[in-house]
Symmetry: C2
DNA sequence: GTCTATACTTAGATAGAC
DNA sequence: GTCTATCTAAGTATAGAC
């Protein structure tokens, strides 16, 4: 799975492999530790400021390391950014499991909403990173969007259409439906300051996410004519 | 209406006023022309890269002016950014005022969705600028979100609740409903590369927006139990 | 293998030329 | 009033020290 085309970059924090001695040595403890810190820090910084706006300096400070040290581990700002995007797309792909026409629409659609919401909830920074990348024109993710992800959406769309033909749901445009679900679920991570500002809270808790998920499931299923 | 608190900045391209001679002179033709170019260019650049990532250099190139010249007109990068945010928030406020407090839920809610969609459609760059600002933690817009916008949402929420009490719609959480509408409508501008990549088009036309708007109106109204 | 001093480029801003 | 040469800070990256 090579999500990003632009760069022939060997992933930074992949399962194994290092350029050190012969073949398959594990990364040293200190390296592993520093890389983890860097990845977390960088995800937050890039999520907040985008690729251009996120400085290695800011990442270094957030990771508690000298700037030059960060570059030693990750090679370049670009490679770091790509590694983060790949990590997030891997999470996304793990969520996109397959379904068949014979499954129950209500069950599947609800699982769809819930898993997307869980992904957003589990990785809000990754969600924002993705949002910033797309907002900036998706320079690194274009191929992924036009390829893998598109195929998945089209396949899913066909299933929805068949459900509609069988009268199991309204004949809504399946692609717009998928976008609606994605946008609604992403919103609580990506626009968190707006949500918090308007609701007057200082954080969204597990309960809030429960309520929101239930609300979305109910409204969307009903809106599609499932469980009418 | 002072949307942004941080800076005591006199707006750049306001209706009248200039620092020149005595009082109320009109901006010179050349100034007006250059400022317009700069505002448009800057909106695009900040929308793409955020505040930090958007360089004066990039804005200058997009506007067809030397970098130093841009700074002469706008004073500073910060002032320019604030002016753009204020312009966008003014549009937003104009939209919010537009929605009358009628008594027919279906009519109101549909008008709500349509006006928000029209705003996004009319100013996609402004929409992305706003998105980038909020994604970055809304450092400039916090007061607006916690103040004006919050009040508007709360007032509107109370109306929705009264409708639910009268049995005119399902008892959905009105604030989550508003967020759903905002996210769904914003999505087509903010995540345009994703939408285009997946649908395989190279632009969304007037027809697409019509279809999407109709789709959203139908699904959301039905989902709330209006026109059940 | 780990880290830092140094190089070079671009950033935002201004003082001064026209 | 309009515009540009110039300044200082911050940016990424690397060559070389430990």
């Amino acid at each position: 799975m090579t999500v990003i085309s632009e760069v022939g970059s060997s992933p930074i924090s992949s399962s194994a492999s290092s350029r050190s001695s012969a073949g398959e040595s594990e990364a040293s403890a200190i390296r592993q530790r520093n890389e983890e810190r860097i990845l977390e820090a960088a995800e937050a910084v890039f999520a907040q400021h985008g690729y251009r706006g996120g400085s290695v300096q800011a990442i270094a400070e957030a990771a508690g390391l000298p700037k030059s040290n960060v570059l030693y581990y990750v090679g370049s700002k670009r490679r770091l950014y790509v590694a983060l995007l790949e990590r997030m797309m891997a999470r996304w792909n793990a969520m996109l499991d397959d379904i068949s026409v014979d499954d129950d629409p209500a069950e599947i659609l609800e699982a769809f909403i819930r898993s997307k919401m869980a992904l957003t909830r589990a990785h809000p920074q990754g969600s924002r990173l993705f949002a910033a990348e797309v907002l900036g024109g998706a320079p690194f993710l274009q191929d992924y969007l036009r390829g893998e992800l598109r195929d998945w959406v089209q396949a899913r769309a066909r299933v929805f259409e068949q459900w509609a033909e069988r009268g199991l749901m309204d004949p809504v445009d399946p692609v717009w439906l998928i976008f609606l679900i994605w946008s609604a679920t992403q919103h609580y991570a990506d626009f968190e300051p707006q949500v918090l500002g308007i609701t007057g809270r200082d954080a969204l808790g597990e309960q809030d996410y429960q309520h929101i998920t239930d609300f979305l499931c109910r409204l969307i299923l009903k809106g599609c004519g499932i469980r009418g």
